[in-house]
């Protein structure tokens, strides 16, 4: 039975309290703890998920009173929740939060926040709601066939609530029994890679946070401490595999792998902190170093990610060796330079047969990433849909998403044509109709990934023998991609690359330059093949709401290409700090009034976090910043913080049109070019207005981002461009405008298996 005198699932509450409450404590954990306290105290109704933990640590009566009020509010809505389509149709979303409120109730009980009668009444309410809704929900999921984020959330919530109230309520016993029976089976049935196949959104939002808590629950249930590495069932997958995959999905810059319907998004932190603390592995520390701390996202539909991050923060420093890449035979791999400034991913995870809405069709898709910025486009169409990928035979109407009318949508954006893959005979709606093997042999070596995905294509192209792609990272800078396609009959074969805008002039091949100034040039070296480029509107929704398709097409029974890609660095940033700042409590200041107040303001902020989190400042939605600087000669940009909301930017009082960054500023900091009317070496004034979130929930369930990253003046950096690339006499030669690079290179042997 759980000891209700100690907060459950926290190893060392005395040590944790001492660390967090120590005067002068520094470091990122202290920053996050301060954010939790500030939020819980100033707006407990807006940041309810922090209140119980803050009360547990501080034990101050006012903090306890706030937490009690929040829990009372939660309990008060349960009767009405029973009638929502959410609970009735998406009960797993309610399971995890309910389990967490049950746990936080126990934490509060451990510090004497409730009397015996209150405790009994609340216990009855929590456990009976779990019994009739979440236990029912768990039993809806076929056992053992169903292994996904929903069932994991349901099994964990039942195990957690069942263990918590075991001995206090007979209703807890079936919860405990079924939860503890199914939880190891679900964990162990995850693929050996640890990747559930549901994309980053569910790996980060549910699987990772559930795995950490599941390990802690199972360790306690079975009196062990090695659950992270142990296989929950014979031949099963140890939970550490799923945690590693969560960390591997984190890209430098803070975004996640965009391989599902949600595309690029920011990641969670608590599984990374847990992995770093428990394993000391570099991959967790590398991912933790890229986190966006002003991002608030539900983990398992609960906004307590930062709470668990603080609890599990690693005591040890990051290991000296870096995280250079990864390889999973069933999934794909990544190649990163030592400084993680340049990288490429080659993905061959299975897609869902029939209707690929979540696990997209991406056999051997490549994704380029450099200088903290994504260069490939992936994800889903925007809310208006994307006509380019709305194929006639990919419409779907379902009745179980709503209690009212059926929901109709097009899943063409999950098909092959919307991904950087090989296409046959122009079929962009590429997808499987039957469950079948989707790949052949995969292999890797330092700086090399290789996979044959011909099995995927055989359903639609029965005579295909080989669709192999090999990716290399040479000199930590050049990406080389070789495609070898072999079939019995001739086919029109397309190598498609889906890139971020904008197309830019190039000496050869195709070149894009993102709004952040990072460039990618792609050249074909065997045939000097010409790219056919097409702008696509409405896909993906983020970051740009559009994409560039760069296709190379050939016809034959054997088609081979050798692509060379070179990413150019972003701009050189000179940080701007200590900007004058003012709060705008009503959010109604006009430009002139704001500028007058700013000039007289003694308050200085860096824009690294929303002001009320950066300093001891009031909770105000609208803030203005001001600084003056001198324009350098030539082209220059002002880099604004990430996460601006309702922004307004003034240069010497003139407004700047921010429409070009309307969608991208949700994921990437905007670089605003300095206009020509500011003369070289002239001083000018920068004024920026932004709203900041005042609640967990402002992102509408998709995460809430507060401004971060600060301001900078950016200058152009030299970009090396490829002039020519060719393969001759076993040497791949790339001539750039700066140097000639030569590497011994052997083409993939024809008719040889990939694993050879």
């Amino acid at each position: 039975m759980v000891d209700w005198s100690q907060p459950w699932l926290i190893d060392d509450i005395a040590g944790l309290r001492a660390a967090l409450l120590a005067p002068g404590a520094g470091g990122q954990r202290s920053v996050v703890w301060r954010m939790l306290v500030q939020s819980a105290r100033r707006a407990p109704e807006a940041y309810p998920w922090y209140t119980a933990f803050v009360a547990l640590i501080t034990r101050e009566p006012a903090d306890i009173a706030r937490a009690r009020q929040v829990l009372a509010c939660y309990l008060g809505k349960l009767d009405a929740v029973r009638f929502t389509s959410g609970l009735q149709l998406h009960f797993w979303c309610f399971a995890f939060p309910h389990a967490k409120w049950s746990l936080m109730f126990q934490w509060l009980c451990s510090i004497g926040a409730y009397g015996d009668d209150e405790r009994r009444a609340i216990t009855a309410q929590l456990v009976s709601f779990q019994f009739t809704n979440m236990h029912y929900g768990l039993r809806t999921k076929p056992e053992p066939a169903c292994v996904d984020n929903q069932t994991l959330a349901l099994a964990l919530s039942n195990a957690l609530v069942g263990m918590l109230f075991s001995g206090h309520s007979a209703l807890a016993e079936p919860l405990r029994r079924d939860g503890l029976r199914r939880l190891p089976a679900i964990l162990g049935a995850l693929p050996a890679s640890g990747y559930s196949g549901e994309g980053s959104a569910y790996m980060d939002g549910v699987i990772g946070p559930a795995v950490t808590l599941a390990v802690e629950v199972l360790n306690r249930a079975h009196g062990r401490d090695d659950g992270l590495w142990a296989t929950p069932q014979p031949g099963g997958t140890p939970p550490i595999a799923a945690l590693r995959m969560v960390a591997r999905e984190a890209l430098p810059g803070g975004l996640l792998l965009p391989w599902d319907n949600y595309g690029y998004q920011f990641g969670v932190r608590s599984p990374l902190a847990y992995g770093a603390a428990r394993t000391g592995e570099a991959v967790f520390f590398a991912a933790l170093a890229s986190c966006i701390w002003s991002y608030d996202i539900g983990v398992g539909w609960a906004y307590d990610d930062l709470v668990w991050t603080v609890i599990w923060w690693p005591a040890a420093a990051a290991p000296a060796e870096g995280a250079h890449g990864w390889f999973e035979e069933q999934v794909g791999g990544a190649l990163w330079s030592a400084d993680r400034q340049r990288g490429v991913l080659q993905i061959w995870d299975d897609s869902a047969p029939g209707i690929p809405t979540r696990a997209h069709v991406n056999p051997n898709a490549v994704l380029f990433h450099a200088h903290g910025v994504p260069l490939s486009a992936d994800g889903a169409a925007d809310s208006q849909g994307c006509a380019r990928f709305a194929f006639a035979d990919t419409w779907r109407e379902v009745g179980y998403l709503s209690l009212d009318a059926p929901v109709r949508y097009n899943y063409g954006d999950g098909c092959g044509g919307a991904h950087s893959v090989i296409l046959f005979d122009g079929w962009e709606g590429l997808r499987l109709h039957q469950d079948q093997p989707q790949r052949g042999a995969a292999a890797h070596a330092p700086a090399m990934l290789r996979c044959d995905v011909a099995p995927f294509y055989r359903e639609s192209v029965p005579d295909v023998r080989r669709v192999e792609r090999r990716t290399l990272l040479l000199d930590e800078r050049f990406v080389v991609i070789e495609d070898l396609i072999e079939s019995e009959a001739e086919h029109d074969v397309t190598a498609r690359f889906v890139l971020r805008p904008e197309l830019a002039p190039a000496p050869c091949g195709v070149r894009i330059v993102t709004p952040e100034g990072v460039s990618l040039q792609l050249v074909e070296a065997l045939h000097a093949a010409t790219f056919r480029c097409e702008a696509v509107a409405g896909f993906p929704a983020r970051p740009d709401g559009r994409a560039v398709l760069a296709d190379v097409v050939a016809r034959g029974r054997q088609v081979r290409w050798l692509f060379v890609a070179l990413a150019g660095p972003g701009r050189v940033a000179q940080p701007l700090t200590a900007l004058q700042a003012i709060a705008d409590p009503a959010g109604t200041l006009d430009d002139a009034h704001a500028r007058r107040l700013l000039r007289a303001s003694p308050l200085r902020l860096d824009g690294q976090l929303p002001p009320h989190l950066e300093r001891d400042l009031p909770l105000v939605r609208t803030w203005w910043y001001r600084t003056t600087l001198r324009r350098p000669a030539g082209t220059a940009w002002l880099r604004l913080p990430l996460g601006l909301a309702r922004p307004r930017v003034l240069l010497d009082g003139r407004p700047v049109d921010l429409a070009p960054w309307a969608t991208s500023l949700a994921l990437l900091p905007p670089d605003v070019p300095l206009p020509d009317w500011i003369a070289a070496d002239a001083a000018f004034e920068l004024v920026v207005r932004s709203d900041v979130p005042l609640s967990h929930y402002e992102g509408g369930g998709d995460g809430t981002l507060g401004l971060c990253g600060g301001f900078a003046l950016c200058l152009p950096s030299a970009v090396e461009q490829i002039r020519a690339a060719c393969l001759a006499d076993g040497v791949l030669a790339v001539q750039t405008d700066q140097a000639c690079y030569r590497w011994p290179y052997a083409l993939l042997p024809a008719d040889a298996p990939a694993g050879a």
């Binding site: 809505k77 029973r82 998406h90 809806t140």
Partner: protein, 189 residues
């Protein structure tokens, strides 16, 4: 507040199942069905049949029509810790409200009880088939019925299971496929 004490009691004391099975509170009846499943005793089949008939006689839950004050959407309601008020159409009686909250929960638990007992007469089996064929039945009920038919189905169950197999809902489809495989295995024994 629901009769949680009675729910607790029926899980601990099978002797209270007959009383709980007829309780006006659907949550108690749900607990009674779970208790019958735990007993897995064919002696409870008449009780299961009576409970099933009672569930079928309740108001239709498939056309629930509730508005909410401070409603924020399906999954966001899980995350939001704020007030929520359900507003029912005028004239909605308590029985209808209870049916809308319960939906297919008791039916699902009864199907699992039949599966655990592993026996079933033709009348009860027909009731199971009807649920698979009912166009507007909730999928948790259909999936549970399919699972029960894996244990108690006969050749007559194949046609309704094939209807369920064709549904575009993963749990139902999966349970139907497993049930058909189980029936095929039994017929080849």
């Amino acid at each position: 507040m629901h009769d949680i004490a009675m729910m607790e009691r029926v899980l601990c004391d099978p002797a209270s199942i007959p009383h709980a099975a007829q309780h006006p509170d659907w949550e108690v009846r749900y607990a009674a069905a779970v208790a019958i499943e735990a007993c897995a005793d064919p002696a409870w089949l008449p009780t299961v049949r009576a409970m099933w008939q009672h569930e079928l006689a309740r108001p239709d839950y498939t056309r629930a029509s509730v508005r909410f004050v401070e409603h924020v959407g399906d999954t966001r309601n899980a995350e939001m810790i704020g007030p929520l008020t359900a507003v029912f159409p005028a004239g909605t009686d308590d029985a209808t409200r209870a049916a809308w909250a319960c939906r297919g929960r008791v039916r699902q638990a009864l199907a699992f009880a039949i599966a655990a007992i592993g026996q079933c007469d033709d009348g009860l089996r027909c009731m199971l088939h009807d649920r698979l064929l009912a166009a507007d039945e909730d999928y948790p009920v259909k999936a549970a019925v399919a699972r029960a038919l894996a244990r108690v189905g006969t050749a007559a169950s194949i046609a309704p299971l094939q209807v369920a197999l064709a549904l575009d809902e993963w749990c139902t489809h999966t349970e139907a496929a497993l049930a058909l495989a189980a029936l095929a295995a039994r017929s080849s024994e």
